[in-house]
């Protein structure tokens, strides 16, 4: 069976940097419930990263992500001075010296990726959704999260990609191919929304209309979370769902605010934050 939910894994190395000339080499590993990222930074700059699916075994996922990030760089684990683990599986990063919560890491990472003007970060991950307020240094001032329910998470979108038989990488685009926005699906629960959507497909709704109905319901759900904490510009979205143009467009429309355009893979924000914390810890001599 084709696995439509499978999103594209990625890895990257900075073309213009040499780790051998670096004074401080640190790493951040974010083991999420659905994806894992490893990021290596040299002297506070991004050197290489990987973004992979999390397996059923956290310690292996952390090691696999790190090995893939280091692939072809000549850099090895023993040259990395400090590693911080974060995410749902942060205590299961065997080579990390410390674990820091993903809230702190996402705040710090978003500040690095999107710049110091970011005040509100929406992290839409595989199995949770967080609204985070940060200051100009990326320090968390307030946050709210939903990690109890799949509505408004990447996992929910994966369920719909499978239902429709459309790749997760394409559902966002597809949801925008409707002339008029259909009424959102009425069920909150992803399980119920899926049966509702099956009914709509049987009634003859085209796929793009069904995914539009789900996407707008999902965006609305996230907006209610954001509105409880308030949205202060600049606004940035991290996590896998930040790549879904259907969700992002609807969020921007409902919130009357534009999200900043990301420079790197939006899924690495947590790991970037972790690597930056690692650097700060090296500098403090811890």
């Amino acid at each position: 069976m084709a696995e439509f939910w499978r999103w594209t894994e990625s890895r990257w190395t900075a073309p213009d940097k040499d780790w051998k000339k670096a004074k401080i080499i640190t790493a951040g590993v974010d083991v999420g419930s659905v994806s894992s990222q490893a990021v290596v930074m040299v002297d506070g700059e991004l050197y290489c990263y990987s973004n992979m699916r999390t397996g059923s075994d956290s310690p292996n996922s952390a090691t696999n992500a790190m090995n893939w990030a280091l692939e072809g760089t000549g850099l090895s684990l023993d040259k990395i001075q400090y590693t911080v683990g974060t995410g749902y599986g942060r205590v299961n990063v065997p080579f990390a010296q410390r674990a820091i919560t993903e809230i702190a890491c996402h705040g710090r990472g978003a500040n690095f990726i999107y710049g110091p003007t970011v005040r509100t970060v929406l992290d839409m991950g595989g199995q949770d959704c967080k609204a985070i307020h940060i200051d100009e240094k990326g320090k968390v001032t307030n946050f709210l999260m939903n990690d109890k329910c799949a509505a408004g998470t990447g996992r929910g979108m994966e369920v719909f990609a499978d239902l429709l038989g459309v790749s997760i990488n394409e559902v966002g685009e597809l949801s925008l191919k409707v002339e008029e926005e259909p009424p959102p699906v009425s069920s909150t629960c992803v399980v119920f929304a899926k049966s509702e959507a099956s009914g709509l497909l049987r009634e003859g709704w085209p796929k793009e209309k069904v995914i539009a109905a789900y996407t707008s319901a999902m965006a609305h759900r996230v907006v209610t979370l954001l509105e409880r904490i308030g949205v202060e510009p600049d606004f940035a979205i991290t996590g896998g769902i930040a790549k879904n143009v259907g969700v992002v467009t609807r969020l921007e429309k409902e919130l009357h605010i534009k999200a900043l355009i990301p420079k790197y893979d939006t899924q690495i924000a947590g790991a970037v934050g972790a690597a930056l914390f690692a650097r700060a810890l090296v500098e403090k001599g811890k």
């Binding site: 059923s56 199995q127 109890k148 799949a150 996992r155 629960c189 049966s195």
Partner: protein, 255 residues
């Protein structure tokens, strides 16, 4: 006087026909994709069995999430009233009714006359409904009717952290990789849904006797988990899925 109760749920349609206080016919069919079609089948079958025509039924009352679909009904009652009336008629000691269907869960507190004192409903989330066990049976690759008996052979309680059915599915995958035994995972599934239902029961305040109705009452694994968490005996009537249709038929007769 001949009356009937029609209970149109998310997954099944139930009909009970009564004559002078006695049940003379009952039927349960899968709701399928086309409610109207299934409803017609349900009526045709039960009318044939009882040798009646629709016109001979004096009064029909509909209930259930899809009660508006029942065009032949003279009146509608809430699922709460129907469940309460059905339960108290089957056993007059009942003060707490727990109704767990495919897509809803309810806890209803009633007085000695079967009058509803308080209730709580979950219709928003699959975690406290039959849909949860269905999804978990799929994930464990066992038939739904096997899930209950399987969990009875469990020797160890395993905690499930996820509430959400979607997340619980991924958690089961992790448990499978950690070599957790299937019976223990089946028990974890029933403990998890019982936990959701019990928190609802606590909100209305439990009073003995407790009766469990709805399709999920037929799941022995859930029944055991529920008893364990409530720390009390739980009555399951014969045909637990038909209790609300029975209640509707009784209410149709003005009882």
């Amino acid at each position: 006087m001949i009356t009937a109760g029609v209970d149109i749920g998310a997954k099944t349609i139930k009909i009970v026909i009564m004559k002078d206080g006695q049940v003379i016919g009952q039927n349960l069919v899968m709701a399928g994709y086309d409610f109207q079609e299934s409803l017609k089948t349900a009526w045709d079958e039960v009318l044939t069995k009882t040798g009646l025509t629709l016109n001979q039924i004096d009064r029909i009352v509909a209930t259930g999430a899809g009660k508006k679909e029942a065009g032949m009904a003279h009146d509608q009652v809430t699922e709460i009233s129907a469940a309460a009336r059905g339960a108290i008629t089957l056993d007059n000691r009942v003060r707490t009714v727990i109704d767990v269907g495919a897509e809803e869960g309810r806890a209803i507190k009633i007085d000695a006359n079967g009058k509803v004192v308080d209730f709580a409903i979950n219709e928003k989330c699959a975690a406290g409904a039959g849909a949860f066990t269905e999804a978990m049976a799929r994930a464990l690759e066992v038939k739904l009717e096997e899930l209950g008996p399987l969990s009875l052979t469990s020797t160890q309680a395993v905690a499930m952290n996820a509430q959400c059915a979607v997340f619980a599915e991924s958690e089961l995958v992790t448990l499978v990789h950690a070599k957790t035994l299937k019976p223990d995972m089946a028990r974890a599934v029933h403990d998890a849904i019982a936990d959701r239902i019990v928190s609802m029961v606590r909100r209305v305040g439990m009073e003995n006797e407790v009766m469990l109705i709805g399709g999920v009452a037929k799941n022995v694994g859930f029944y055991e988990s529920l008893k364990r968490e409530l720390e009390t005996e739980v009555i399951v009537p014969k045909d637990p899925e038909l209790v609300s249709a029975l209640g509707a038929a009784l209410l149709a007769a003005g009882k």
